[in-house]
């Protein structure tokens, strides 16, 4: 009998030791100033048996990592080859609202959207993801999204690991549930749990990675639907947070655990030099025994709000320690940046936003200020260059992650106390954990980009809450400079040439001061081919790929926002 038990424990022990890990997929990088992103319907082998229907950007699940240099103007060529409309939002980027990829920037199937902007963000880790209202959860679930890494001169001079895939790794955390046919269970259905049962780290189930025996940088993103991660290492070692969402901290912050809420990013340094080659270590979510309200702390393992990962500690990445690289980073800088933050005293406008119940119908569990999101309602109007303090009050029944577009902010208080703000969250942020029964105050400045038409969003980043209407929108307006004269002006005319055209189409404005706010080109059957926000027209519009036929160019004028349509023929 004893022998049998010994044998069985040996068998099970060896099964446990040799858990089937899969090598962590590291997304390819794209760099330069022109980026081609192709959104596709596809499928992936995520489990034994049938493939899972997914969507990806140039890929099967998730997309390439975009490397931006601060100061560059980046041009995005986003082609929607899904058979569904979607949007692509550049999370954390400071840019014009019309380029932001929020719920108003709908890209129909087959259409190319070409936003561009000057990168002014600090070096840090950002991301892009779909943001079509009511469909964000479904599109995010399918795997649409990707990392953005911004580099800048301050970060570049620091002795930090920055060789992508060697000592600097993007780690995107999410989980999924599967049905009997191996298909993702998460849909816009209130009766199906928003929590996944199985980890997908960089889209890899049971991921493992070899990390060199030295300081390693992990850029970690929580791209979940709703789950939060209380991250730490299996041996409880100290690691160092070096960035928040929007830039370097002033100095590394030592922690053994950090909570990472949906949409948030941190870059950490972990010292593996004390390990031996061949050692193993796990990056884990210590999600057991957390108070109710932390998303994923619920006790139930199945059914509504249920998940096999709920209220559990679980591995998110299995690490095998490998040999030191040729040029390892062996020390950590004591200081990183000298950020100048706005303080509460700088704010000239104070706003309070309160989490309230939604209508209770479908996904509409929560709202802000009893006003569920409406595409046609502007909830806040902000004057450009104003420093504002926003306090988000959550005396409601559950925790949230508050995200605002356009800006990076500085958290100045939790529950009204400046001392309540953790060192680990002391840097630039665009997304913040808003625990149940608490409030968060932040200060931010709305600079550079005003647009009285196109709004920016603020919302809970749990995409089920966002789809359910826990979202508002604000416009940044240019004070008194846009006024009666401009609005009452008659729109000037323009012409397109040559017509018929072959490769390039040019626009000639009757008034040389006239600018295009938006151009759409539709074909004869009404299908949109191009969406060009604030197009730069000096070099013409490339139509060389169009098939011959009649096209309609709709131009919305910058000043009057009126739209005039011209017809042209592609030879």
């Amino acid at each position: 009998m004893q022998k049998t038990i010994f044998f069985l424990s040996l068998v099970f022990g060896s099964i446990l030791c040799k858990a089937q890990y899969n090598n962590l997929w590291i997304p390819d990088t794209l760099s330069g100033t022109n980026f081609n992103l192709n959104l596709v319907d596809t499928f992936a082998q995520l489990r034994p048996g049938n493939q899972t229907i997914t969507a990806g950007v140039n890929n099967k699940f998730w997309g390439p990592t975009l490397i931006f240099n601060q100061g560059d103007t980046v041009h995005m060529n986003v082609q929607n080859n899904l058979n569904d409309s979607t949007t692509v939002h550049w999370h954390g980027m400071h840019l014009p609202a019309v380029m932001d990829g929020g719920p108003h920037q709908i890209i129909p199937p087959g259409t190319i959207w070409q936003p561009y902007w000057k990168v002014t963000n600090n070096a840090a880790t950002y991301w892009y993801h779909p943001h079509l209202h009511n469909m964000t959860m479904e599109h995010l679930t399918k795997g649409l999204g990707g990392f953005i890494i911004v580099r800048d001169p301050i970060e570049s001079t620091l002795a930090l690991p920055r060789t992508y895939g060697v000592d600097d790794f993007p780690i995107v955390l999410t989980s999924r549930g599967y049905d009997a046919m191996n298909q993702f269970t998460i849909t816009n259905n209130i009766n199906i749990s928003e929590y996944g049962d199985y980890m997908l780290t960089n889209g890899t189930p049971n991921a493992q990675v070899s990390l060199p025996k030295q300081y390693v940088r992990l850029r970690i993103l929580n791209a979940e639907i709703e789950r939060g991660y209380n991250l730490g290492f299996s041996d409880n070692r100290t690691f160092y947070i070096i960035t928040n969402d929007g830039g370097l901290l002033n100095a590394p912050v030592a922690v053994t655990r950090v909570k990472l809420m949906v949409g948030e990013r941190i870059e950490i340094l972990v010292d593996l030099s004390t390990n031996n080659v061949g050692d193993t270590l796990n990056l884990k979510a210590f999600n057991s025994a957390l108070p109710f309200g932390f998303p994923g702390a619920e006790p139930q393992q199945s059914g509504l709000n249920g998940s096999l990962l709920n209220n559990h500690d679980f591995t998110v990445l299995h690490i095998n320690i490998a040999a030191t690289t040729a040029t390892p980073v062996t020390t950590m800088p004591a200081t990183l940046a000298s950020n100048t933050y706005w303080t509460a005293a700088n704010a000239t406008v104070n706003r309070t936003i309160t989490v309230t119940p939604g209508s209770g119908i479908g996904l509409a569990e929560f709202a802000f200020d009893n006003t569920p999101f409406s595409l046609n309602t502007i909830n806040k109007t902000v004057n450009i260059n104003t420093i504002e303090e926003w306090t988000i009050v959550n005396s409601n029944i559950f925790s949230h992650a508050f995200h605002i577009h356009d800006v990076q902010f500085k958290i100045v208080a939790r529950n009204g106390n400046a001392s309540g703000v953790g060192n680990y969250e002391s840097g630039w942020k665009d997304d913040v954990y808003l625990p149940k029964g608490e409030s968060v105050s932040f200060v931010t400045k709305f600079e550079d980009y005003s647009d009285s038409i196109h709004p920016f969003m603020y919302h809970c980043h749990f995409s089920n809450h966002e789809d359910g209407g826990m979202m508002g929108q604000f416009v940044v307006v240019a004070g008194n400079t846009t006024g009666i004269e401009e609005a009452t002006q008659t729109p000037k005319d323009f012409s397109v040439y040559p017509n018929p055209a072959n490769n390039k189409l040019y626009i000639s404005f009757d008034d040389p001061n006239m600018q295009a706010y938006y151009i759409k080109i539709n074909n004869a059957v009404g299908r949109t081919i191009y969406m060009l926000p604030q197009p730069q027209l000096r070099n013409g519009i490339d139509i060389s790929n169009f098939s011959s036929g009649i096209y309609y160019l709709q131009l919305t004028d910058e000043k009057t926002k009126s739209t005039i349509t011209k017809t042209f023929i592609k030879e």
Binding site: V40, D41, T42, F43, Q45, G49, N50, Q51, I53, N81, N83, D84, S85, H104, I106, P108, P109, G110, H133, D179, A180, M181, Q183, L375, N376, I378, S452, I453, T482, G483, I484, A487, T488, V525, G526, R527, T560, K561, S562
Partner: protein
């Protein structure tokens, strides 16, 4: 000033609202026809060879394998060879395969008739590939994904759905798959009940114009 700004905003907002309505309409889906409510009326659709095909053209057919597929769907693309194999095996036994594309050709250029012709030629389809550009046949079947298969059988001169679902249960590894459609046709040819009349198909959503 405010009124003017408001006006132009409302105009844009209305455009946005309209596009939202439009795209919501896109996601209209009809109920998948169950095996109980299962009579399919004959249809006439244009094949890639420009000839129109109806079920009634096949005087000796005992049944049909009707597969809804399309040009662009990567998961549907995996099945081209299996469609040829099914047609080779069962058309001689009186159960030919007809492929139908019910995707919204107005919305999705990849699904155009010319691209269907190209696909049929390139992938050497040995079966008709029919263009349901009005989406009426797709709606009548209640299909919502590609690839999705129906096996219909002639009973009292009516066409009855005997199987609805996936071709099999593994897109990329046909050798590991349970061949649902082949099993259903084999059972019907042996005058047996289909033991698994409904399965879940996966793939690309078909959006119906209203």
């Amino acid at each position: 000033m405010k009124n003017k700004t408001l006006k132009s905003f409302l105009l844009l907002a209305a455009t946005f609202a309209l596009s939202i309505v439009f795209f919501t309409l896109q996601s209209f889906r009809s109920e998948n026809k169950s095996v109980l409510d299962n009579t399919i009326s004959d249809f006439s659709l244009k094949n890639v060879d420009e000839k129109t095909i109806s079920l009634s053209d096949y005087k000796n057919a005992k049944g049909f394998i009707i597969v809804f597929t399309c040009n662009h769907c990567p998961f549907a693309k995996l099945y081209s060879q299996r469609f040829n194999d099914l047609n080779t095996k069962y058309s001689s036994l009186g159960v030919p395969l007809l492929a139908i594309n019910s995707m919204d050709t107005a919305m999705y250029e990849d699904e155009s008739f010319i691209n269907m012709k190209n696909k049929s030629t390139t992938e050497i389809f040995n079966f008709p590939y029919l263009c349901d550009n009005m989406q009426t046949v797709g709606k009548n079947f209640g299909v919502d994904h590609t690839p999705h298969a129906y096996v219909i059988w002639k009973e009292n001169n009516k066409w009855k759905i005997k199987y609805s679902g996936a071709i099999d249960d593994n897109g990329e590894e046909p050798k590991k798959a349970t061949p649902y459609v082949a099993n259903a046709v084999t059972e019907l040819l042996e005058n047996k009940q289909v033991s698994m009349p409904v399965t879940v198909s996966v793939g690309c959503k078909i959006f119906f114009r209203k």
